[in-house]
């Protein structure tokens, strides 16, 4: 397996005698610094004031070993303390060096940073060694004209390549509107004095920040620190942990089982709201392919069934056939299959779309009225249903904004207004109007299987736990409930999109500009783009599975 192939040599590293250093054992022995006793930790806090001053507060927290290597520069007399004279000498020499490696630019102009003060102290570290804390303060003047809006960057080039916490924080003072920033605005380390204890959260390695600001009240919220921090995460942890604990409860009363089922549905739904689970593909497909409510519901049922079967099978494999399969390997192949399935679906859609498009072109050349006539009965329906071709832009803005995964595929078909009937069986009777209408059932099945194929580890753990305590049936029921909750969210999103799209169809039908020539042409290509979107998502899923 590719993932493990990269590890295997790693296992061996230490074996070549004396090649690798000994290693601190265990989190209990972890040092106060996030990257151990070798680290040099850097924090740059920049503040923008209304009076046009950029204030920089730069903290360097040096761990034991690098402090030892540099101690003579700060403690010349070796008394393990920094005297006044020593501090002055050190700061006089080092703070210009440190500041010289900080590049602040506003609108392409470098802002000169002038030292205004600082401090250096030695603190007791581990093993009778010292650590060093250096703080350098400086100010610079913002170029005139910033109140109308300025683009700025700050780059820290000190100790490049040296391990350690690296972070830049940009804060607007009162009267300054920091409306765009890549940097954090809050300092969670309290000036590098307290580091988060969560080991499974790598420390930041940010050495450059870009931001834009102007005068006014702040309008921008800082970027989130991700799922790794905060109360919400703790709650999710506790909650999911409880799901796993449902299986080994001593007495299973009917009331408890009923409650457990309800909880399982809830947890499944909660899980589906997290990243993954093909929500984007479902959305793209249902909107792009003009699915209806029934499609969304069947999709949910197929996802539930596939996910339950998948979890149960994998649980059985893990229990009884481990010498043939490894859970990690099976997981890898399932992810791959799930991606390839979407890929194939996208490919099939694309080929039928391109074909339709090429035919449609031929007719457009004749004349628009010919074209309309050629559609026979369909044209009327299309009109009745309010020009389904006119809705794609607003629809995608309204529903798909904020979904970073999605390159929103435009959606409508010029000639497929009849899909609302929910009857998609009649298009092939008409000579050339092969425009795909509602999603084919093959598509829905492929999508549902793809969405449910990869088991949620949570559900898998519950299944394994249940088998381990000889409650396989109970586990199966719980997992079914969990899958049901998961699928419920997918279906819900599908329904929301299906009906939302129709609502918008009606609202936007009267917009005349959408009947212009370019809009028509765009509408003609849009089904191809939609198919391409699904193809791209399939490629992404496949690529990620290979990761």
């Amino acid at each position: 397996m590719s993932r493990l192939r990269t590890v295997a040599p790693a296992l061996f590293a230490a074996m070549i005698a004396l090649m690798l250093m000994s290693v601190v054992s265990g989190p209990r022995a972890a040092s106060a610094h996030p990257l151990g006793n070798f680290s040099i930790n850097r924090l740059l806090v920049a503040e923008l004031s209304e009076s046009g001053v950029l204030t920089v507060n730069y903290v360097v927290d040096t761990a034991e070993i690098p402090t030892f290597q540099r101690i003579s520069s700060v403690d010349a007399n070796g008394d393990r303390e920094v005297g006044e004279a020593e501090a002055a000498a050190f700061l006089g020499k080092d703070s210009p060096k440190l500041l010289g490696n900080i590049y602040a630019e506003v609108d392409g102009q470098r802002v000169a940073l002038i030292g205004t003060g600082g401090s250096v102290e030695l603190l007791e570290g581990q093993g009778g060694l010292l650590t060093m804390r250096v703080i350098v303060e400086a100010t610079g003047t913002l170029p005139e004209g910033w109140p109308d809006g300025a683009r700025a960057s700050i780059r820290d080039e000190n100790y490049e390549g040296h391990a350690g916490w690296r972070e830049i924080i940009v804060r607007p003072g009162p009267g300054v509107d920091l409306f765009k920033t890549s940097a954090q605005t809050d300092d969670i380390t309290n000036g590098l004095t307290v580091y988060p204890e969560d080991l499974l959260k790598s420390p930041p390695t940010v050495s450059e920040a870009v931001f834009e600001f102007r005068s006014g009240a702040t309008t921008f919220a800082a970027p989130s620190r991700g799922a790794g921090t905060g109360v919400a995460r703790d709650q999710a942890q506790r909650s999911l942990g409880r799901f796993a604990s449902l299986v080994d409860r001593q007495n299973l009363t009917p009331a408890f089982v009923a409650l457990a089922l309800l909880l399982a549905v809830g947890w499944g739904a909660m899980h589906a709201l997290g990243p993954g689970h093909g929500k984007t593909v479902v959305a793209t497909y249902l909107v792009g392919e003009r699915g209806n409510g029934r499609h969304a519901i069947y999709l949910g049922i197929i996802v539930t069934a596939t996910h339950t079967i998948s979890v149960f099978t994998l649980g059985l494999i893990a229990q009884f056939a481990t010498d043939i399969f490894d859970a990690d390997d099976v997981y890898y192949w399932l992810s791959l299959a799930s991606g390839v399935l979407v890929l194939v679906l996208g490919g099939m859609l694309l080929q039928s779309r391109v074909r339709t498009l090429l035919r449609g072109r031929g007719h457009l050349k004749h004349s628009l009225s010919d074209h309309e006539h050629a559609h026979g009965g369909h044209a009327h329906e299309a009109h009745e249903h309010g020009h389904s071709h006119s809705h794609d832009l607003p629809a995608r803005r309204a529903f798909l904004k904020g979904n970073s995964m999605l390159i929103a595929p435009p959606t409508a078909q010029a000639r497929d207004g009849h899909s609302h009937n929910g009857d998609d069986g009649h298009d092939h009777h008409h000579g050339h109007s092969h425009a795909p209408t509602a999603p084919g059932w093959r598509g829905i099945v492929a999508l549902g299987v793809s969405g449910g194929l990869v088991p949620c580890p949570t559900a898998l753990v519950v299944m394994l736990g249940a088998i381990a305590v000889d409650r396989a049936v109970y586990g199966l029921v719980l997992v079914t409930a969990f899958s049901f909750g998961l699928a419920g969210v997918l279906t819900g999103i599908g329904l929301l999109l299906v009906y939302g799209r129709r609502f918008l169809d009606r609202r936007t039908a009267s917009l005349t500009f959408l009947r212009s020539g370019w809009a028509q042409r765009f509408v003609a290509v849009s089904p191809v783009l939609s198919a391409l979107g699904i193809l791209a998502l399939g490629a992404m899923l496949t690529g990620r599975a290979m990761l």
Partner: protein, 450 residues
């Protein structure tokens, strides 16, 4: 129904065209996916030109992805397994020891969640224990993993690694050989190469490293560089400094500023008595990652050119690192014991450390360190016994032979001492800036007496 409709269509006139289309589109999609996968995936053959920096950036992305997954789902053991693997590789590349603590956390949490059917979790936890030199734990974990996947290579390798650490070389060979039967790649070949070196098989140790390098194509750049460094270290042990330097230079070309390659090249320059270059290279390695044996080697090189004050500074740094290891409850380290013994510092403490190391893992390196420490504590008879153990496998390590020579001399065996010194000077005359001169002088004196 649409299904029937499309089936009918597919069987119609344009059936063949459709098939062509599908094939073309599927190919397009798959290559798209492969390209995407190649971007994110190191070690994939589709990305041979990847640089160390690109790989590191891709690794950071994967780590962030799996950290977020692990954070949102506390029992997602698969993400934890992936994280442990990534942390281990990142630790190799950056030398950041905190990543081993992270890997330990991830792997042990994964094994807590799924204690039995978790091959990857068990082998990853075993890898962490290996780095911590806890060989008994490695053996136990590998034994637990083996039956879960009899055709998996990793557990055999780890089992063999534990046995190497415990000095059970025959068993180790059997497991490495099984591993090679399953997958004759870098992981198996490099282990066999190391085994061949320990058991004194000069031809195989070189040849297997060359094979390892040939098989390292497509693996992370760091792994390729590492294999070159190991071949270089092996050439050095056999006294071929030019060939060794070339391997370290190749490693540096693959992985710029690779600490082990910098230090390896520095060692060659010192052996070639190009001390200024050696000092410069060691200093670069140490400023990137102050590993105690490289800091000590920098000190030794300073001492060789008479810059004693600077040498003492480096030695003090090694002691500081040793103090930190102790404060952190680190598994006693052979390197520190060897450093103390070599430099006549804390020799009593060195003996205690070497004894503990030998008890935890009675391999040849531990035996040699213990013999050397016993010698420095004037316990010559015990030292002689222990040095027999160190040499029992026929390991061609000049320092083993040098230590044995001095121990023989202390026991009044001048002929034996002369023979070992002759072997040292034949094998690797400049094996140490600290001891090579003494070895030559002693040998000259003993020859004159004959």
């Amino acid at each position: 129904m649409a299904v029937q409709g499309s089936i009918r269509k597919a069987h119609g006139l344009e059936g063949r065209l459709l098939v062509l289309w599908s094939v073309a589109l599927l190919a397009l999609g798959l290559s798209l996916a492969a390209a995407l996968g190649g971007l994110l995936l190191d070690g994939d053959a589709s990305a041979p030109a990847a640089s160390a920096a690109d790989e590191a950036a891709a690794r950071e992305q994967r780590i962030a992805f799996f950290e977020a997954r692990a954070a949102s789902d506390p029992i997602d053991f698969l993400s934890l397994n992936n994280l442990a693997a990534e942390y281990l590789q990142r630790a190799r590349e950056t030398g950041d020891v905190a990543d081993y603590a992270r890997a330990e956390q991830a792997a042990s949490r994964s094994v807590e969640i799924i204690p039995v059917d978790n091959y990857a979790g068990l082998t990853l936890l075993a890898s962490v224990r290996l780095v911590q030199h806890d060989f008994a734990a490695v053996e136990d974990l590998a034994q637990r993993a083996l039956p879960l996947k009899p055709l998996g290579a990793a557990a055999y390798g780890l089992l063999g690694d534990a046995q190497i650490g415990l000095g059970r070389y025959d068993e180790a060979f059997e497991n490495y050989d099984k591993m090679r039967g399953i997958d004759a790649g870098l992981p198996a070949l490099s282990r066999l190469a190391n085994h061949a070196f320990i058991t004194g098989d000069r031809f195989d140790s070189i040849d297997l490293w060359k094979q390892s390098i040939a098989k390292s194509q497509g693996l992370p750049v760091e792994n390729q560089a590492w294999a070159h460094v190991q071949l270089g270290v092996t050439y050095f042990a056999y006294g071929d400094y030019g060939a060794a330097a070339k391997e370290h230079e190749r490693a540096l070309k693959l992985f710029p500023d690779y600490v082990h390659a910098l230090a390896g090249l520095a060692q060659m320059r010192a052996a070639q008595e190009r001390y200024d270059e050696a000092i410069d290279l060691y200093a670069r390695a140490v400023s990137k990652l102050p590993q105690p044996q490289y800091v000590a080697a920098l000190g030794d090189t300073y001492a060789a050119v008479g810059r004693d004050a600077e040498a003492q500074q480096q030695y003090a740094l090694v002691e500081a690192i040793a103090a930190l290891y102790q404060a952190n409850g680190v598994n006693t380290d052979l390197q520190i014991a060897m450093f103390y013994t070599d430099h006549d510092r804390n020799v009593a403490q060195a003996l205690t450390m070497a004894q503990a190391a030998y008890e935890a893992g009675p391999g040849v390196y531990a035996a040699d360190a213990l013999a050397w420490a016993l010698f420095k504590n004037d316990r010559y008879a015990e030292a002689a016994t222990m040095s027999e153990v160190a040499l029992a496998q026929g390991t061609q390590e000049a320092s083993f032979l040098y230590h044995s020579a001095l121990i023989r001399l202390a026991n009044g065996n001048e002929d034996g001492a002369r023979e070992y010194l002759r072997q040292v000077l034949d094998l690797n005359p400049n094996f140490s800036p600290l001891h090579a001169e003494t070895a030559r002088e002693l040998f000259g004196g003993l020859e004159a007496k004959r």
